[in-house]
């Protein structure tokens, strides 16, 4: 900045320096933005699975349709679990910013339990469908259904494992900058999964029951 003042001292320099003069952004911003871009690419992958499902939704090959298979009560409970876990995940990030260990652990525990309840309901639904012969090999509709919903379920499973690892890191390493960045990425991931689920219950379950 002193160099700039020497060259051009007519311009008042109360303004903050531009970002290009100030050097690279803090690592939290770089990491957060990079993970944001990854999440968007992940959502593009989900979009292709959604497109495949939407194209094949009527191709039941004489097998059961969504209207016969989907249980709306179970879907409503799954939705409530995931939404509530997104909320507790948000409260956990607030507790992280003020370094409250007990609240962070409590938030993580509730988030984990709700996520696990969601997964248990989904596995039970899948098992019930496979048991009555409506597995992924039955029709193009069911192949697309299991791929799309199963892919979201795998993401939730990965998120739960990630949450356990993060709590171990908080317990062992404390709130180091690196741990905080990973927790930021985790909460982004968890909220993004909830957004995918909004589209899932709308497009797959509710529209499937309507048509």
């Amino acid at each position: 900045m002193n160099v700039a003042v020497a060259i051009d001292d007519e311009v008042p320099h109360e303004a903050a320096p531009s970002t290009s003069e100030a050097g690279p952004a803090p690592k939290r911003i770089v990491v957060g933005f990079g993970f944001w871009v990854f999440l968007l690419s992940d959502i593009v992958m989900f979009a292709s699975l959604f497109a495949a499902y939407a194209v094949l939704a009527q191709a039941t090959a004489g097998g059961p349709s969504g209207l016969q298979l989907f249980n709306q009560v179970s879907v409503a409970i799954e939705t409530a679990c995931l939404l509530a876990s997104s909320y507790t995940c948000g409260l956990m990030s607030l507790a992280i910013s003020v370094r409250r260990y007990a609240t962070v652990y409590l938030g993580a525990l509730i988030t984990f339990v709700l996520g696990a309840a969601f997964l248990a309901l989904e596995v039970r639904e899948f098992a019930g469908m496979i048991a009555i012969g409506a597995g992924p090999q039955r029709s193009a509709f069911l192949s697309a259904f299991f791929t799309l919903v199963g892919c979201h379920g795998l993401h939730v499973t990965a998120g739960l494992a990630w949450l356990v690892v993060m709590m171990a890191q908080v317990a062992i390493k404390g709130f180091q900058a690196a741990v905080e960045r990973r927790l930021l990425c985790f909460s982004l991931f968890w909220h993004a999964l909830d957004i995918v689920w909004v589209w899932l219950f709308t497009v797959v379950y509710l529209m499937g029951v309507v048509s």
Binding site: I43, G90, S93, A95
Partner: protein, 131 residues
């Protein structure tokens, strides 16, 4: 030099002074988001099950409710704003939305068009017989 305007990391809440961070105002933002999301979800389930609405418009209504709920999640949970420190996050998001729209709408249009132009045999005329 300390007040350089960097971008804000996605997911970081903005503009709250340090004293307020993590206290009641942050909780309030998440709680408002949760309440709005619950209302929109309940409306989605109601719209799908009611017989009061014109059946042809239900899919469109559900889509609008899902877009609204996505907006609620982005604003209240992911703290995406229109502020200058969020421009890069919003631009990346807009690009993602563009690709998603192209993939989904493009696939549906192309496949519907292909189905329309198929030679009308008895088997193909019945969409339930596709493998």
């Amino acid at each position: 030099m300390t007040d350089t305007q960097y971008d804000r990391a996605p997911g970081d809440a903005s503009a709250l002074p340090d004293v307020e961070r993590g206290t009641s105002s942050g909780v309030l933002v998440y709680t408002i988001g949760l309440a709005l999301a619950v209302v929109l979800t309940a409306m989605s389930f109601w719209v799908a099950n009611t017989s009061l609405l014109w059946a042809g418009g239900i899919a469109l209504g559900l889509t609008v409710l899902a877009i609204a709920q996505m907006g609620v999640h982005l604003v209240f949970f992911l703290h995406v704003t229109t502020g200058p420190d969020n421009t890069n996050n919003v631009m990346a998001l807009a690009f993602g939305v563009l690709i998603v729209t192209l993939v989904v709408v493009g696939s549906l249009l192309i496949m519907a068009d292909l189905n329309d132009n198929m030679m009308p045999t008895a088997e193909i005329m019945n969409p339930h017989m596709q493998h």
